[in-house]
Amino acid sequence: MAFWRPRHPVNDSDLSAYVDGALEGAARARVDVHVDACAACREALAGLREVRRALGALPRARAPRSFALREADVRPAPRPAMTPPGRAPALLGGLAAAAFLAFGVLVGVDLTAGTSPTHQQTAGPLSFEAARGDATQGEQPPVADATTLAAAAPTSLGIAAATPEPDAGAAPKEDVFTGGDETAPSANGAEDGRSGLRVAEGALAGVALVAGASLLLVRRRRRA
């Protein structure tokens, strides 16, 4: 934990940068002058240097084995773009998208006639671009827009899903620790007994779910 000393002209971040030789000119001079006069900061500086030196002296591990890839580990050649999906995934994707859109329309009708005047649709997955290779998303492989749409639909609309995919929409360039885009949950209108509409919504959501899941399965099988 950093401790900020209000009367001091230099703080921990300055001292840390100073240790790295990253301060120049006036900033560095300020630290030089202050450290000369301040025992506490001198001590802090010495402590930082000690930590840095200790870390640098940690024994360096060598790789326990060769991590060279075999042909069997990889596809024949790295591709600059996603492979053309083929017909089945396109159909499934289209079905999922159409079902989702129709669902959205019904929900919109539902809500504008109902209690809550505003709702937000998810924006995140729609802006997700094909993953570059430098984004390892753990268990989620790079997916096309239609799939993230379908996969995100049950989560964003509050339907019980098996596992939410919170990271599916994060763009690779986002800071891995704070980044991730805003996926605003859409608010469902309160139950007010329009059961026919509900059934239609449920059916469309189901279709979107099934189509999305099938699309994922098809893609996974193709990657095998």
Binding site: M1, A2, F3, D12, S13, L15, S16, A17, D20, A22, G47, L48, E50, V51, R52, R53, A54, L55, G56, A57, L58, P59, R60, A61, R62, A63, P64, R65, S66, F67, A68, L69, E71, D73, V74, R75, P76, A77, P78, R79, P80, A81, R132, G133, D134, A135, T136, Q137, G138, E139, P172, K173, E174, D175, V176, F177, G179
Partner: protein
């Protein structure tokens, strides 16, 4: 560890799908990436898995990779693989991050130091390394990563910023906070550091 002299050529060949060329890049960077994963995750097995995953990702993405800052790019992939593993661990509540991680003490073939060091010094040094690794694992992930990239792998602030997909200012802040925490945590054991000066004078970094 330096980049291979013909790295640009290997990179170009790799982009065209030449696996042998890519494997030369692997050979050049695997020690460093493995070391990063080991320090980040505290487990030899986890480090091995993360490292394997990182190189697979790298091969798949190398054709789309822009520019020629291969080192930072590779470190970013390895860092992401570590973060993924840390997230996976958090989703399994029975795995405690505070518990001593098997393999944390287990150092793979090391560039071990000074043959002339006596047994007492070696024991003390071993204690310091263990204490340091244990405290590293207690840091928040972002601070741990920043500190390792800076003080263990000796990347520049700019390279670290690329590897963490963030700004230099954020990098500085994370390094600063991480070091301050480590210092605070180890303050109670001055005897560990007392020997360090002598040790590091004999084996510089």
């Amino acid at each position: 560890m330096d980049a291979p002299p013909d790295e640009a050529h290997l990179l170009e060949r790799s982009r065209q799908g030449d696996l042998a060329a890519f494997n030369e890049i692997v050979a050049a960077y695997q020690d460093r990436l493995y070391n990063l994963c080991l320090r980040m995750l505290g487990s030899a097995q986890a480090a091995e898995d993360a490292c394997q995953e990182a190189f697979l990702s790298a091969y798949r993405g190398i054709a789309a990779m822009r520019g020629s800052r291969l080192k930072s790019w590779l470190f970013r992939i390895a860092a992401n693989a570590c973060v993924d593993e840390l997230r996976r661990r958090r989703r399994q509540p029975q795995v405690s991050l505070e518990a001593p991680v098997p393999g944390a003490e287990e150092e793979r073939p090391l560039d071990v130091a000074d043959a002339a060091a006596g047994p007492e010094q070696l024991a003390l040094r071993g204690e310091l390394w263990q204490a340091l690794q244990a405290e590293l694992l207690r840091l928040p992930d972002d601070q741990r990563l920043a500190v390792i990239l800076c003080d263990v792998e000796e990347l520049s602030y700019e390279e670290i910023a690329v590897s963490m997909s963030t700004s230099v200012g954020t990098v500085k802040s994370r390094i600063s906070r991480g070091r301050a925490r480590l210092r605070l945590a180890l303050q109670g054991r001055p005897e560990l550091f007392g020997d360090l000066v002598r040790l590091t004078e004999r084996n510089p970094g």
